[in-house]
C-alpha cells in the first residue's frame, strides 16, 4: 500500500511540474524574476570588479613598497547576491502563490477533481503530490538562480567563491526554497478554501502585500534613527553610546517595533539570507556556528510558518468538496 501511495504522489508531483512548465502566466512571471535577478547580480558584480581591481592595485603597490601589514579586503562577494534574494522575497513569493493557486484552480476549471477523487487517491496524497511537484519547480528555479549568481560573481566580479561561501550560499537558497514553498502552500490553501478560487488568489495576494511589503516597511519606518534624513542620532550629535543610552528609555517602543517586523515571515527569510550572504557587516566576522546562533529566532519562525501553512493546505484539500457545490442532482 505504501509503494502504491508513493507512486500516486509521484504521479501527481510530475503532473504539477508539467502543468507549471506549460503555464503561460508562470513563464511571464519567471521571466521577470530571472531578468531582474540576473540584472541585479550582473550590475553588482560589475561594481564589485572595479572595487576589487582597486583593492588589488593597492595590495600590489603595498607589496612593492615593502609594506608588510596589508589591510584585508573589505569586500564580501556573497553580498552581491542581496538583490537576488530581495527579488526572491518579493517576486519569488508571488510566483509561488500563483503556482499554489493554479494547483487548485486547474482541477476546478477543468472539472478534473471528481476524476481524480474517483481514483484511489486521497486528498492528502493530492496535497502532498502537488506540494512535491511545486517543490521541484521552485528548487529548479533556485538552482538556476544560484548558478547565475555564482557564475556572475566569478566571471564578472572576478572573485570565485570558496567552499565555506558556497556552503553558506547553499543554506541561503535552501531557505529561499522553504520560503517560496510556504507561499505556495498559502496560495493553494486560500484557493482551496474559497468557493471561487480567484477570490482565494486575491486573499493570498493581500496577505503577501501585508507580510512582504507593508509590515517590514512599517517596522523600518518606526526605527527611531530613521526619523530624520541622515539619522536622528547623528542630527543630535550623539554617538553609538548615546544612542544605546537613549534607546534604553524606548524598550516598549522597540519591542512593539521588532514585534511588527517579527510578524513578517518575509523579514525572517531576509534576515537569514542576508546573514548567510554577508550582507550585514556585523555578521561577516562570525564563525559559522555563531552565525546560526545569531539568526536562530529567524530559523525557528521560518520553520513554524513552513510547517503551519502546508498543514493548513492539507486541511483545506481535505475539506474541499470533490464536486462543485450546487451541481446537478
Amino acid at each position: 500500500m505504501r509503494t502504491e501511495s508513493r507512486r500516486r504522489i509521484l504521479a501527481i508531483a510530475h503532473h504539477e511540474m508539467r502543468a507549471a512548465t506549460r503555464s503561460g502566466v508562470l513563464h511571464a512571471l519567471l521571466g521577470i524574476l530571472i531578468v531582474a535577478t540576473a540584472g541585479s547580480v550582473v550590475i553588482a558584480s560589475a561594481v564589485y570588479a572595479s572595487r576589487l581591481a582597486d583593492y588589488q592595485a593597492y595590495r600590489a603597490a603595498a607589496v612593492a613598497g615593502g609594506v608588510t601589514r596589508i589591510a584585508p579586503s573589505p569586500l564580501a562577494p556573497l553580498s552581491l547576491l542581496r538583490g537576488a534574494f530581495e527579488y526572491i522575497e518579493i517576486i519569488g513569493s508571488v510566483i509561488a502563490i500563483t503556482l499554489g493557486y493554479l494547483a487548485v484552480s486547474r482541477e476546478r476549471a477543468n472539472k478534473t477533481l471528481p476524476l481524480l477523487l474517483s481514483r484511489p487517491v486521497s486528498a492528502v496524497e493530492l496535497a502532498a503530490g502537488s506540494f512535491i511537484g511545486a517543490l521541484g519547480v521552485i528548487a529548479t528555479l533556485a538552482a538556476a538562480s544560484a548558478t547565475v549568481a555564482v557564475l556572475s560573481v566569478g566571471l564578472i566580479g572576478h572573485d570565485w567563491l570558496n567552499l565555506t561561501q558556497v556552503g553558506k550560499l547553499f543554506l541561503a537558497f535552501i531557505a529561499a526554497i522553504v520560503y517560496m514553498a510556504t507561499f505556495y502552500s498559502l496560495g493553494a490553501y486560500t484557493a482551496a478554501s474559497s468557493k471561487a478560487a480567484a477570490n482565494g488568489l486575491m486573499v493570498a495576494l493581500g496577505i503577501w502585500l501585508i507580510v512582504v511589503l507593508l509590515l517590514p516597511q512599517i517596522g523600518d519606518t518606526l526605527d527611531a534613527d530613521n526619523q530624520i534624513p541622515g539619522g536622528l542620532f547623528a542630527a543630535l550629535g550623539l554617538g553609538h553610546d548615546g544612542e544605546v543610552q537613549i534607546l534604553q528609555h524606548f524598550a516598549t517602543y522597540e519591542t512593539v517595533r521588532t514585534s511588527i517586523e517579527a510578524a513578517s515571515f518575509a523579514k525572517h527569510f531576509e534576515r537569514f539570507a542576508f546573514a548567510m550572504t554577508d550582507v550585514k557587516e556585523r555578521y561577516r566576522s562570525l564563525s559559522f556556528p555563531d552565525l546560526l546562533l545569531q539568526v536562530r529566532a529567524s530559523i525557528i519562525w521560518i520553520l513554524i510558518y513552513a510547517v503551519t501553512l502546508p498543514a493548513l493546505m492539507i486541511r483545506a484539500f481535505r475539506k474541499q468538496p470533490s464536486i462543485p457545490q450546487g451541481a446537478n442532482q
Partner: protein, 244 residues
C-alpha cells in the same frame, strides 16, 4: 468476486437539509448494463456521486463490488471507472499524457502499455499525441471513456454520456458500451434521460422520480409488461417519470 456489482440499501441524501434521494433499495448484478432514468434533478447524478465515493450519503449504505462506499473508499475506487457528464480533462496535456496520468493514479502496472491498448481498443490512437484543449466534444468524450476504462475497472459509471454528442457520436458510444460489456465483462451503470438509448443498450432499467425509485426491471420484462405502449417514452410517462 461473488455477489452483486452494486447494492444500495435505504440509501438517501440531503443537500443543506433538503432531501434529494429517499431510501433507495437497488441491486445491480454483475454483467448488467443498467440504465438509470429520471428527469433533470431526479437524483441520478447524486446517486452516481455516492457510488463513485465523491459524496458521502446522509443515510443508508451502498456497496460496489462488495465494498462499502463510505468505509472502504479506496477499494471501491480501485474497481470503478467514471465518466462525468461534462468531460474536460487537462487541455494543456495530450490525450496520451492525460490517460497515463489517470492510469498511474489507478495503480496500473504498465501505464504506457495500458494507454496504448486502450486507445487502440477504442479506435482513437490518432488522437494520442494531440492536446486535449483542441478536441471537439465527441473527441473529448472518446478520451473520457478511455480514462474511465484504462485501468480495466469491473464497474463503469457513465453520467449522461450522450449529452452534447451528435447522432454519429451517440451511435459510436452505444457500440462502445456494448463492446465493453461483451468483451471486458464490465458492469455498466448509465444515467440518462435519453430514453431511446436505454432500449438499445440496457439490459435492466430503473426509474427515479423526485428522489424515489419507482421502477426497476429487466428491459425484456419492461417491454412485456407494457405491450400496448408505442414507445419507451410512453412507458416512462405511465410510470410517472415526469416532473411534478
Amino acid at each position: 468476486m461473488d455477489g452483486p456489482a452494486i447494492e444500495m440499501r435505504g440509501l438517501g441524501h440531503s443537500y443543506n437539509g433538503s432531501p434529494v434521494l429517499h431510501n433507495i433499495d437497488l441491486t445491480i448484478e454483475r454483467g448488467e448494463v443498467f440504465g438509470f432514468l429520471g428527469h433533470n434533478g431526479a437524483g441520478k447524478t447524486t446517486t452516481v456521486n455516492i457510488l463513485t465515493t465523491l459524496i458521502t450519503p446522509t443515510h443508508g449504505t451502498a456497496l460496489v463490488n462488495g465494498y462499502d462506499v463510505i468505509t472502504d473508499r479506496r477499494r471501491v475506487n480501485a474497481h470503478i471507472g467514471y465518466l462525468p457528464s461534462e468531460v474536460r480533462m487537462y487541455p494543456h496535456m495530450t490525450a496520451r499524457e492525460n490517460l497515463t496520468f489517470f492510469a498511474e493514479l489507478s495503480g496500473v502496472e504498465s501505464p504506457n502499455r495500458a494507454v496504448a491498448e486502450t486507445l487502440e481498443y477504442l479506435d482513437c490512437s490518432e488522437l494520442a499525441d494531440l492536446r486535449v484543449g483542441s478536441f471537439s466534444t465527441g473527441m473529448r468524450q472518446r478520451i473520457g471513456i478511455a480514462q474511465a476504462i484504462v485501468h480495466r475497472p469491473s464497474v463503469l459509471f457513465l453520467d449522461e454520456p450522450t449529452a452534447g454528442l451528435d447522432p454519429a457520436g451517440i451511435r459510436q458510444l452505444r457500440r462502445t458500451i456494448l463492446d465493453l460489456n461483451a468483451d471486458l465483462g464490465m458492469t455498466v451503470f448509465m444515467n440518462t434521460h435519453q430514453l431511446s438509448e436505454v432500449s438499445k443498450v440496457c439490459t435492466t432499467i430503473g426509474v427515479l422520480n423526485h428522489g424515489e425509485l419507482i421502477y426497476k426491471d429487466s428491459m425484456e420484462a419492461t417491454m412485456r409488461r407494457f405491450p400496448d405502449e408505442m414507445s419507451l417514452e410512453d412507458i416512462y410517462v405511465r410510470m410517472g417519470g415526469v416532473p411534478a
